[in-house]
């Protein structure tokens, strides 16, 4: 490339406090005009800090130790506050991760979009309005005029991220910093927003610095990738080369942590299903006030599902598909409006003969390891708690069981006396899994058990789960929006949309020959992986033939 770099970061080093930890260590990379560069790394790798430094956004506790950032030939570090403000927004735009909080909830969309334009461009109100409407139409809002007079809460997460993108691209910046722009979104929406972002930036010749933990997504859209680990750049290069021939062990680890399909398992022929759900209907009561009562909202419209002993059934679907509600109703947390749930051949209502058998043998792993553990209990107490209700078990046997299970999940030494806040997210999820399996249940519901975790941690937790499942042979209802994960763990897949099952079947059939349009759309949103030998992989996009019809 002969053109000079738009953004040139050289030897950037950031440190916390006076003598503290180095959080970004000698990081150098360049972004050329119109190019899309990805920074990939796990939480704590310093990728966000490095990118924010480009805009001069460094938290007060963090100190710049060395290095230079040149944007368009100017030294960002030497700029005055006034000059910095002039480039923020107008030349460098930023899209944040959380669409729910990055728009001001008390401001009309129109006013928010107008803010940057009014500040940086000398245009009259009518011209600005025309520009805004044009941009809103471009990002796919159906009613741009109406949107101007709306508040952010009236839009879904995906729509908000589009609006955020519109507000940034209105100023046609030379560089767009996108910090995990689609992480909080559904797989299908994720893809639409990414396509939109790439389309918009290409039109305007805007370069993009895309920060993400999702190697698959980065590889798909970026021409070059920078891999960061613990504050250092461990590898950078062209996307295809980096994927096909990863040099650094960490890059290889990241690639091998991406979910991959294992050979289909042979299960013993069907006996009595462990869980059998028939025509399950769940309704959430509408908002009730003193004087009004709105109609109840139906979350599940007659679901029927069987889980055989030892089988892992994955339930996939976007948010609002009712997959979590299904899990909660089988766990007994939500009362069905109609339909039956039978556990091991016996009804599960409280007072029935089979109730305690069900209650002791049906366990659940929750999504958020930060909220599923009581913060005031130690790990030992948390894992021991389910045993309280087991009769005919001596205290010594219980203690031995807790120690055994903690060792099984890899939290053997000294973890029992710690509190949840002292543990990392992955370790917490191990505790949650230990708590679920400590009674040796025959059925475990796992509600998005790995979606809050980093890529490599996710792979470890999935392996652990798989290992425990094989060892103890429990059946599992695995709820997830992540098809990659599902492909790795599931024996059978159930696809849900809007409270209904749209397709179900053995894993290989669903992934290789999906019948329903929604399944096809879900599949097209996530990359598949093929090993190339030498530790590398090649990405491929499923159902590439249907791509055009899906995007348009």
């Amino acid at each position: 490339m002969t053109t000079s770099a738009l953004l040139d970061v050289a030897g950037l080093t950031l440190r916390i406090g006076e003598a503290g930890r180095t959080v970004v260590d000698d990081v150098s990379f360049q972004v050329f005009p119109g190019e899309i560069v990805g920074i990939v790394g796990e939480s704590g790798s310093g990728k966000t800090l490095a990118a924010r430094a480009v805009m001069g956004f460094i938290p007060p506790a963090v100190r710049l130790v060395g290095g230079a950032i040149r944007f368009d030939g100017q030294d960002v570090m030497a700029m005055s506050g006034k000059d910095l403000r002039a480039i923020r927004g107008s030349k460098v735009g930023m899209v944040f991760q959380e669409p729910m909080t990055s728009l001001n909830p008390s401001m009309l969309i129109g006013r928010q979009l107008d803010e940057g334009l009014a500040l940086h461009r000398k245009l009259d109100a009518a011209a600005r309005r025309a520009l805004i409407l044009d941009m809103l139409r471009r990002v796919g809002l159906k009613d741009p005029e109406g949107a101007l007079e709306s508040y952010p809460h009236q839009f879904s997460g995906g729509m908000r991220q589009r609006i955020m993108l519109a507000s940034v691209m209105l100023l046609k910046p030379a560089l767009l910093l996108a910090d995990e722009p689609t992480t909080a979104l559904d797989a299908v929406v994720q893809r639409d927003v990414m396509e939109l972002m790439v389309g918009l930036t290409q039109e305007n010749g805007t370069a993009v610095l895309l920060i993400s933990h999702d190697l698959g997504m980065v590889a798909r859209y970026c021409s070059r990738i920078v891999v960061m680990c613990q504050g250092e750049v461990v590898e950078q290069g062209r996307s295809e080369d980096l994927l096909a021939r990863p040099q650094h062990p960490y890059t290889r680890k990241l690639l091998s942590a991406m979910p991959h399909r294992l050979p289909a398992r042979d299960l013993p022929p069907a006996k009595t299903p462990i869980v059998s759900v028939r025509d399950l209907v769940i309704e959430y009561p509408g908002r009730q006030g003193f004087f009004r009562k709105s109609t109840p909202k139906r979350a599940l419209h007659g679901i029927s599902i069987d889980v055989q002993p030892g089988e892992v059934v994955a339930v996939v679907g976007g948010s609002g598909s009712g997959k979590t509600t299904l899990g909660q109703s089988i766990a007994g947390l939500v009362k069905p409006a109609s339909g039956t749930i039978v556990f091991d051949g016996k009804p599960i209502a409280k007072g029935e003969a089979g109730y305690w058998d069900y209650r002791l043998n049906c366990q659940m792993v929750f999504q958020d390891p930060y909220s599923s553990l009581d913060p005031r209990m130690t790990i030992g107490e948390l894992v021991a708690e389910p045993l309280r209700l087991v009769r005919d078990m001596a205290p010594t046997a219980k203690a031995a069981r807790v120690a055994e299970v903690l060792a099984e999940v890899g939290l053997g030494d000294g973890f029992a006396a710690r509190y949840p806040h002292e543990l990392s997210g992955g370790q917490r999820q191990r505790v949650a899994i230990a708590r679920a399996v400590v009674r040796r249940p025959s059925f475990v519901i796992a509600d998005e058990p790995v979606s809050a975790l980093d890529v490599t941690v996710r792979a470890q937790v999935l392996d652990l789960f798989d290992e425990l499942q094989k060892k103890h042979g429990f059946s599992c209802l695995f709820i997830s929006h992540d098809l990659g994960v599902v492909e790795q763990v599931a024996d059978r897949v159930v696809v849900m949309q809007d409270g209904r099952i749209v397709e179900e079947g053995p894993r290989d059939a669903i992934f290789d020959a999906p019948q329903h349009a929604y399944t096809q759309k879900l599949l097209s949103a996530v990359p598949g992986l093929e090993s190339t030998g030498e530790g590398g992989v090649r990405l491929f996009w499923r159902r590439a033939g249907n791509d055009a019809s899906i995007v348009s």
Binding site: Q363, D374, E385, P386
Partner: protein
Amino acid sequence: MKRPAPNAIIGGALIGTLLAVAATGALWTPYEPLKLSFREKLVAPNAAHWLGTDEFGRDVLSRLMAGAATSVWISLLTVTLAVLLGTLIGLISGYTRGWTDRIIMAFNDALLAFPGILLALGLLAVVGANKYGIILALGIAYTPSVARVVRGTVLSLREREFIAASRVMGNSEAFTMARHILPNCIAPLTVLATSMFGYVLLAESALSFLGLGVPPPAPTWGNMLAGSRPYIGQAMWLGIFPGLCISLTLLGINLLGDALRDKLDPRMRGAR
């Protein structure tokens, strides 16, 4: 063993002194707190009367010590009463939700709408102005705010996944409430209770000031402060010392409350 936080040391020292003084004051004072001595009225602080004497010649130090016992006892009992009652109401309201919650909270909010002191005044008129009347009146007056805080905490806690986890385990609702919800309410309750201790001390003083507190001649800090008003020009020590006692106690209580909250919260343990 790590060094305790400075707020724990200062707060602990202040409250320790207060409790020591209150305990001593209940048993022994340098002079008889109620003994009149018209020859020695309004004497400025000196070697014999360290904090001077009041308009009836009573020793201010002795009265402060005796008053400490009364004031601390009243505040302590009031806070305990309000916290117990409020926690119970808040737990029931927040955990059951629905119509029970709505009715309890409507009543609660109606009570909250009255200023605490006004409510206490009304109740005092019914139960009579004596030590236990004050405790009952103030206790009831401060219950609604405790109930509000506990209910709010319970509402946010019950949506957390560890409550669902407890149900899936098969724990009964009562066990879940006692094992998982109540302990997690302790941090906000500690903070509320300590700041309330201060308010109650002030409210008791205010009631005394209005003439509805512990009836004279028995000393409390509040009625000493109230009694000092006509003499503020001639004998300012009469007002200053009880006022200082109240302020220092409040300071100590608040510092100690912060330290206690940090100590009780496992998340704050070992953090720096």
